[in-house]
């Protein structure tokens, strides 16, 4: 298994040189505290923890997996202790409200930590990761009493949370769920039903587990507008706020799955379990959507993390492994063969991973910055604008980065040849773990519908324009810089085509509603390549400027420029195929009769 090393130089590059996080933090409440020195110290500390504590548990966690013993889930060796250290380090409380015991730091800073945690050990990171969603929902929609009961303990990390949405017959379509909530005389509810695929649904790392459960009240309207959300603690807090009576929620089984073995994916049975309504009846789904964008960006990190870890593992191997001679003459004449990094095709695989990892980092941090503004800015207009931009970027980041993350992980595995297929080397685990990324938190197909249907076409293209305008301004600003022409020109052309294609799809969709679903996947992938092109051009601009100004880090900035070049020459062309496919019309999908799909 590759030993994870936090890419601190690149993290700094994106934070400081690309996104000017220092200025950004000065402009948002809570950010004042996050001075560059403090940010640096936090990241260094986090990196150490991820490298030394979490990374070594990644492979053993996969091999051991979670086990169910007497109805309780046991996590792999070391997870419990690592979680204890995680709490002691104050990591769960970074961004939470100070009044509730949090540290009030900007959310974007915790995204950096999430990246490092998730890359070092995704299965582990999911335990605190799931808490976030639960916590945020309670904070936004819970009663004062609920907040006092649950939030401090969840913020400190003593208690963790889950999200119980899926049932065996419904995942993408939550409107048809069956879990029921019967009102009790004391104002609580009795929750009954079976939930599946509940990540971190049970474990032995925290004192209590707080489930957020979607269920239907007896008088609920049909469909998505009849779903309410309840908080259902594993142990019902007593008067002193300590875990009390065991609630009637139990683990039916844990799923045997392709990867993320270190995280328990549970079937949870609620058998008249005591629950408490959050907010108003029937508004559960809309509450869930409150922090959907941020939660999905959190999932998008998995794509970036897979690319980064696979890159680290395969780069080391490519420098070490010797096979064949370079076609342009021996590069390692003293050895029996050359290290495989000399071979162009091995480089192609390395560069693909590098471009996706570094580009993905830029995309995530950029979105996280928008999330900071959307949630914290004092300026209402700025909040609104950032929220819309975030809404546009979220499905792209989630789906595009997890899709390309699987590709990157596969490339890393491929570089190791046969060894890549062997568990010991850890590369195949990265692929298995990464594979869930395109499925949960809304599949790629669902993200694509969200992007094209809800975000772009429903706003008459406004949300796209918000982004393409930024791209346009960037292209204009640097249009005269000949050194950057190789990036600016294709980017400007892409930007224009993006709008044209969107218009075309808009009018097609007016005539035939199937056109949206028929184009959505290709539209999303196309947009992903576009966002990445913009970010790579921005990064190239920074690098080129630094090189021109003179720097002691010439190699670093040269490499940035070269990676940008590789992206534009070798990856961006893929967008063309998506463009052609998306405007080819829905007929080639819809004409086939259902019974003619196979014989």
């Amino acid at each position: 298994m590759p030993q994870y090393k936090a890419p601190l130089r690149d993290i700094q590059f994106v934070m400081n040189e690309l996104l000017d996080t220092e200025t950004h933090y000065q402009q948002i409440p809570g950010g004042e505290e996050a001075t560059p020195d403090m940010v640096n110290a936090i990241i260094q500390e986090g990196a150490k923890f991820c490298e030394q504590v979490l990374s070594p548990l990644n492979q053993t966690g996969d091999q051991q997996g979670c086990t169910l013993e007497n109805g309780e889930v046991k996590t792999p060796t070391g997870f419990k202790e690592a979680y204890k250290q995680y709490i002691e380090g104050g990591w769960p409380s970074m961004t939470a409200d100070e009044e509730l015991g949090g540290q009030g730091l900007p959310g974007s800073l915790s995204m950096v930590m999430s990246e490092m945690v998730g890359t070092a050990n995704w299965s582990f990171g999911m335990y605190p990761g799931l808490s976030h969603g639960c916590l945020n929902t309670l904070e936004a929609h819970g009663s004062e009493e609920q907040k006092q009961t649950y939030l401090p303990k969840m913020i400190s990390g003593e208690w963790t949370g889950t999200m119980c949405l899926t049932e065996s017959h419904c995942g993408s379509d939550l409107g048809i769920m069956r879990s029921k909530a019967e009102p009790n005389s004391d104002g609580s509810y009795s929750i009954t039903g079976e939930k599946i695929f509940i990540s971190a649904g049970d474990h032995d790392m925290s004192d209590n587990i707080i489930h957020l459960v979607l269920a239907k009240l007896p008088d609920a309207p049909k469909g998505t507008k009849g779903i309410s959300v309840f908080v259902v603690p594993k142990f019902i807090p007593d008067e002193n706020g300590n875990p009390g009576e065991r609630n009637s929620v139990s683990v039916g089984s844990i799923e045997h799955k392709m990867g993320i073995h270190g995280n328990a994916t549970c079937v949870l049975n609620f058998d008249g379990a005591k629950g408490f309504l959050i907010g108003e009846p029937h508004k559960g789904l809309s509450y869930m959507f409150t922090f959907m964008n941020i939660a999905r960006i959190g999932t998008a990190i998995q794509g970036l993390g897979s690319a980064e870890l696979a890159f680290q593992g395969s780069l080391e191997y490519a420098k070490d492994r010797q096979a064949m001679r370079s076609l342009s003459g021996a590069k390692n004449p003293d050895g029996p063969a050359d290290p495989i990094i000399v071979h162009p095709d091995v480089r192609r695989m390395l560069m693909t991973q590098k471009a996706l990892a570094e580009g993905g980092r830029a995309m995530i941090y950029y979105a996280a910055q928008q999330a900071d503004i959307a949630t914290r800015s004092r300026d209402e207009n700025a909040r609104k604008e950032a929220d819309e931009l975030l809404g546009f970027l979220t499905p792209i980041a989630k789906a595009f980065l997890t899709e390309t993350g699987v590709d990157a992980a596969n490339q890393g595995m491929q570089i190791l040849g046969g060894h890549g297929y062997i568990s010991e080397w850890g590369m195949e685990q990265i692929v298995r773990d990464a594979r869930i990324g395109t499925i949960y938190e809304g599949t790629t197909g669902i993200q694509a519908l969200d992007l094209l249907g809800r975000k772009v076409l429903m706003t008459q293209g406004e949300s796209l324009k918000r982004f393409t305008k930024k791209v346009h301004l960037f292209c204009k600003e640097h249009g005269d810089n000949k050194q950057l022409a190789e990036f600016i020109e294709p980017l400007a052309a892409f930007n224009k085509e993006w709008g044209d294609l969107t218009m075309k799809l808009g009018s097609a969709a007016m005539k035939d509603r199937e056109e949206v679903g028929a184009a959505s996947y290709d539209y999303l992938m196309y947009s992903g390549y576009g966002v990445l092109a913009y970010l790579w051009a921005e990064m190239a601009e920074v690098a080129q400027r630094k090189l021109e100004e003179g720097t002691t880090e010439e190699a670093f900035y040269t490499a940035k420029l070269q990676t940008a070049r590789f992206y534009f020459q070798r990856m961006l062309p893929r967008a063309k195929a998506h463009a052609d496919a998306m405007v080819s019309g829905a007929d080639n999908l819809m004409d086939m009769q259902e019974e003619h799909f196979a014989f």
């Binding site: 690149d10 010797q322 949960y440 197909g445 519908l449 679903g517 070049r565 196979a598």
Partner: protein
């Protein structure tokens, strides 16, 4: 896990309506006596039964149980031994083998279909007969008469199985640097010592004996790939009368823990002065291996097609059954709580991608298999030479393109299932894990691409490529005015032109800058594969169109619609690939090693 159903109708369509296989068989003297359409049909039918009835049911349990190693012995998962017995008794191992030694002498175009069913039903199992058939090919081509008579009949009938021992811990792609040694003994045999890794089915309990073909170096061997010899090393020595003798000094040191194909044993094999017999001439071992390489590599491509077909069958069944959300056009199944997901355009996009790849790939396999048959059985030297060139050119494409697309297909098949696709119980994730190896072994897909671009295209100035391009161009010219294919002729011609242009430009660019070969290779192979499939899809349209008019089954109209999907939504990838190739290799080679990070 859904059941496996052999895609017999599509196989018959390819053999009879696209490629006129019976015509080819009748025209080739080596085949005309062993196979006719009725025999072929009976073979397909039977193979479908054994795949669905015997092999598919132990696919998932085989994955879960895996093979177990204890004190050098390997136990296969429950049911494997019995299935192997049934399989061997049916004569399936020697289906393509030489009748002079007990094989059935069937053409590859037919054997390939049988292999697809076997691999689609159970890839881990399928590897065993596949490896045996490969070992038989090498032995048949290069072994002495004595070796052939002694070993081939028992391998064809499955009593003994075969294994190929090439890789060592430090040497996989680059076999020139292997360390295993062979010392000559007085009696003409050799003593083999060394460690081999990744030996598929190197040890197991299904066959009475295991015949290893081992690459090793003689004491006086020149350095590099030209100093490698091939040896036959049986697990049990074979007495004069054919009975089993002493246990040979080779043993399985351990089994690898791997991502998939858990039902097959991936062995570390230790040779400790094991008695072996030279196959062919000294120092020509690598060449001897290459004899069977074309078949083996096509076989790996076939594994991909089999897995893709299985994944498609499951995904389709699920998409018809699973109800979730309503169609954008209003309820399609109003009596249900939601519509079956097959109504959603994006689910159809996934299914059709799978269907187009799987059927296109099956056509590709059959196309290459026919050239292999012609290369093997043609008597006319010119026809044989052309076939040899086509086989050389198309084999790396069949191996790499089809397995790359197979992985994509299996990943999509998993995606159709949503969260259930990630859960073992449903079987889709196993297909992804199993298929992933096909891009790696028998020469990684990167190596295939180098073989295609470097040796098969640039290496002969595009001579082989011309053969293929002419084949496509002849078709285009002959069918310019054929109304059935009118809408596809132009895009096909454009795709061929794109491929030809790129071919020419890489040949030019690599003159003086060999790095351009490696820089273009993978994209080029992909582009080649897409173009070849476009060609085959047009031919399928041509055959299907006249039948579609009165088609009540939907098979032929379905073909036409799948072709349209391919041209509208898959072929455009070739534009992107061509551009990426034209951008050259500088963006990869300019990097200093240190700059990677």
């Amino acid at each position: 896990m859904a059941e496996y159903k052999a895609p017999l109708q599509d196989m018959r369509f390819l053999l009879n309506e696209i490629f006129d296989a019976p015509g080819q068989w009748a025209s080739l003297p080596g085949l005309s006596e062993s196979v006719d359409p009725e025999t072929a049909d009976a073979i397909l039918e039977e193979a479908g039964k054994i795949a669905a009835g015997t092999l598919a049911p132990i696919n998932q349990s085989g994955d879960e149980q895996g093979c177990q190693w204890k004190d050098g012995e390997v136990t296969t998962p429950d049911g494997f031994k019995e299935a192997y017995q049934t399989f061997a008794e049916g004569g399936w191992v020697g289906l393509g083998g030489d009748p002079n030694y007990g094989g059935m002498g069937m053409p590859k175009s037919l054997v390939g279909q049988v292999e697809e069913m076997m691999q689609g039903a159970n890839m881990a199992f399928g590897l065993c007969p596949m490896l045996t058939a490969g070992a038989c090919l090498a032995l048949h081509a290069h072994g002495s008469e004595e070796l052939k008579e002694k070993y081939l009949p028992r391998m064809y009938d499955g009593t003994w199985s075969g294994a190929m021992d090439l890789t060592e811990p430090h040497a996989g792609t680059d076999l020139g640097i292997i360390r295993t040694k062979a010392k000559p003994n007085d009696d003409g045999s050799y003593s083999i010592s060394g460690t081999k890794i990744f030996i598929t089915w190197g040890e197991h309990d299904m066959a009475e004996n295991i015949i290893h073909l081992v690459l090793a170096k003689l004491p006086d061997a020149p350095a590099g790939p030209k100093g490698i010899s091939l040896f036959l090393v049986p697990k049990y020595e074979v007495n004069e009368d054919g009975s089993l003798g002493a246990r040979n000094n080779l043993s399985c040191g351990s089994l690898e823990e791997k991502m998939g194909i858990h039902g097959s044993a991936t062995c570390v094999m230790n040779y400790d002065d094991a008695r072996g017999f030279l196959v062919g001439e000294p120092n020509k071992g690598l060449m001897a291996m290459f004899t069977m390489m074309n078949y083996e590599r096509l076989g790996v491509g076939i594994q991909g097609v089999g897995a893709a077909e299985a994944s498609y069958q499951h995904a389709l069944a699920y998409a018809r059954e699973r109800i979730q959300s309503r169609s954008p056009n209003g309820p399609q199944a109003p009596e249900k709580q939601a519509d079956p997901i097959i109504v959603h355009p994006d689910v159809r996009r996934m299914l059709l991608k799978m269907k187009a790849h799987t059927e296109g790939s099956r056509a590709f396999i059959t196309y290459v298999a026919q050239w292999l048959d012609q290369a093997k059985f043609a008597e006319d030297p010119e026809a044989k030479e052309k076939a040899d060139g086509m086989v050389a050119l198309l084999t790396p494409v069949a191996k790499a393109f089809l397995t790359d697309r197979a992985l994509d297909t299996c990943v999509i098949g998993q995606q159709v299932y949503g969260g259930h696709g990630y859960i073992r119980e449903w079987g889709q994730e196993q297909l992804v894990r199993d298929t992933r190896i096909t891009q790696i072994y028998e020469g990684t897909n990167g190596i295939q691409a180098m073989d295609l671009m470097g040796r098969k295209v640039v290496g002969n100035g595009g001579k082989f490529f011309e053969l293929f391009a002419n084949d496509v161009a002849d078709y285009i010219n002959a069918n310019q005015d054929e109304p059935a294919v009118a809408e596809y002729i132009q895009p096909l011609a454009a795709a061929l032109e794109r491929l030809s242009d790129v071919t020419e430009s890489v040949i030019k660019a690599s003159d003086g800058n060999p790095a351009e070969i490696g820089a273009a290779a993978v994209d080029y192979l992909d582009l080649f594969g897409l173009t070849a499939e476009a060609f085959l899809w047009v031919r399928m349209v041509q055959a299907a169109a006249p039948r579609a008019e009165n088609d009540t089954s939907g098979f032929y109209t379905g073909k036409l619609k799948t072709a349209r999907f391919f041209f509208d939504r898959i072929l455009p990838q070739s534009v992107a690939l061509a551009e990426s190739i034209r951008n050259g290799g500088d963006s990869m080679m300019a990097f200093d090693e240190a700059e990677f990070g």
